[in-house]
Symmetry: C2
Subunit: 338 residues, 2 copies
């Protein structure tokens, strides 16, 4: 079986194990909040009819594999998988409002469909539910997992605050951009990759290695996402072509381009000084960034962090059969179009 | 010393004990989020200059007293006091956006001043921080307290969802209104009143009695608040006169009026069917509600729940010197203008 097929198989198996627990938790919500949450998660359409189910479920899969990596059955990781998925969805629901994004995965976002008030409240409900899932374990391991999840979310929120602050800046540095990606994307992926092992009572070194793996997968994944946000096929990404540049998002390719040449930096800054970019300006900016070698630099960044992530798996106490699967999932999500 | 003076003294003492811990926690936030949170909490003005500090701090005071009520020093309740205050502020920040309220305590709300995106994110940060404060204890009592707080917040959020659903209804029943008040206000006050005892490892019966006390204080407090929202002095309440009716809020007095007479119900429903109420309509509705005896009924409701709350304090295992203080604080917050 080829690598991609194995990876998607691992993700599907995780989904089968996690979905019932996730659906059961969503059923405890207020009916209005449940409906919006199930729509967001792709279980139902806006009118309540069943839908195919969206999302690859990378975070829950990492949580299950991390339990198995320290020798526990995948089931031990299920509360971690559910909690981390709920926390991810909470952040997407609120980020979509904050960023004014009207589309996600080819469908209207929750705030665009149900209103901002409802979308705020659903997000709040999912954050609370995520904490409850872990605390309901009422075990020391559940407490440690709850602690880890809350810490990751605090970092993720600070990263979003940095992102908002950056909106009013004309320049962005590569370090700054990397720090933001580590906070916004890396923290929760790191948590996902360690949470199952934490729930399984895995030894501290193994848990730390898995957390490190997840953090670097996060950085690699974000770099790939940034490349797709500029050069990706909108029918695949689900976002309009060039939308990241049109809304002047300070992504890694932009940061690399500004660092590469002062002429490029000057021209991009001038473009970013005014309102949103029109189609011609997006084309010009895309061209500038590519010619500055920033696409290559971002792809190299993604590969480097993927390699660092994979190296972290080479740690005593992790089952090599399971780390093989973690490797395939990481490669799958970090090599989408590269 | 008269009763009110003792109650305000108890609240001030609690503030002195809780404020440093609260301020230290806020200092861990992203600078932009910290600034907005400190503004919301009344520590600073919009321009960053120091302010008098707002809020009576009823919830933190209850948390401290509940630790003392089961024989522990007040300090044991401090993490509970901080957590419950942060959770209350999280809910205010988001509710102000959802309700479109531009003023709170005579100042612009956070969303009105810093924007909706920032206000969403600050609220999220405070919810996360509240969970962290309890989990950071890393004790069984901290876990039990975290569990109780998350459960209370889940109920509070469901109550807000009910409130939103009710907006599009013309009628409201007394039971429905009471259930909503129990969820939106009672759940967190109940949690506050039990959280210190939970952290102190108080016995289950004592903790349950304190939770019961807080739940009924919440119902009484909400009824008083509803009366003030219609007949209160706006210079005291900090809200425009008649704003609850102008925005067609389905409060307890409205529910009692609709239950009292079908003529009153019909006329109020007709008013609630259209857009927001103008000044003349607010006056007419106020008159209708008063003549239906609904102000008296709401005040009787408030007194009855205050009495139930006080009766709950008469439980073995609670220190009578401390329950005396709990009684005075409850009377103080539930008898504001009655």
């Amino acid at each position: 079986m080829e690598r991609v097929a194995i990876a998607t198989d691992v993700l599907k198996r995780a989904k089968r194990l996690v979905d019932p627990a996730l659906v059961a938790r969503l059923a405890t919500l207020h009916p209005d909040l449940r409906r919006a949450a199930e729509y967001h998660l792709g279980y139902v359409e806006a009118d309540g009819t069943p839908a195919a189910g969206a999302g690859k479920g990378v975070r829950p899969a990492l949580a299950l594999l991390s339990a198995e990596a320290v020798g526990a059955p995948a089931e031990v990781g299920v509360p971690g998988a559910v909690a981390v998925e709920l926390m991810h969805d909470f952040s997407l629901l609120h980020d979509d409002i904050i960023d004014g994004d009207q589309q996600r995965r080819h469908r209207p976002t929750v705030w665009a469909l149900f209103g901002i008030g409802q979308a705020i409240l659903v997000g709040d409900a999912l954050q609370t539910l995520a904490h409850q899932v872990l605390l309901d374990q009422r075990t020391d391991a559940g407490l440690a997992a709850g602690h880890r999840l809350a810490a990751a979310v605090a970092v993720m929120i600070a990263g979003q605050a940095d992102d908002m602050a950056l909106e009013s800046e004309e320049r962005v540095g590569v370090d700054e951009c990397e720090r933001m990606a580590a906070a916004k994307t890396g923290a929760l992926l790191s948590c996902a990759a360690a949470l199952g092992a934490e729930l399984a009572g895995g030894d501290a070194q193994a848990v730390a290695a898995l957390a490190d793996f997840g953090a670097h997968v996060g950085l690699s994944f974000q770099a790939v996402d940034d490349v797709l946000g500029i050069w990706g096929d909108s029918s695949v990404t689900g976002k309009p072509v060039g939308s990241d540049l049109a809304s002047k998002k300070k992504t890694l390719p932009v940061a690399f381009a500004m660092a590469a040449s002062s002429d490029t930096a000057r021209e991009l800054q001038a473009m970013f000084r005014n309102g949103n970019l029109d189609e011609a300006a997006v084309r010009r900016a895309t061209d500038l960034i590519e010619r500055a070698g920033a696409r290559d630099a971002t792809e190299a960044f993604a590969r480097a962090h993927l390699n660092t992530a994979l190296a972290a798996l080479d740690t005593d106490g992790l089952d090599p059969r399971v780390t093989g699967q973690l490797r395939l999932v990481a490669e799958y999500v970090c090599e989408r179009q590269l």
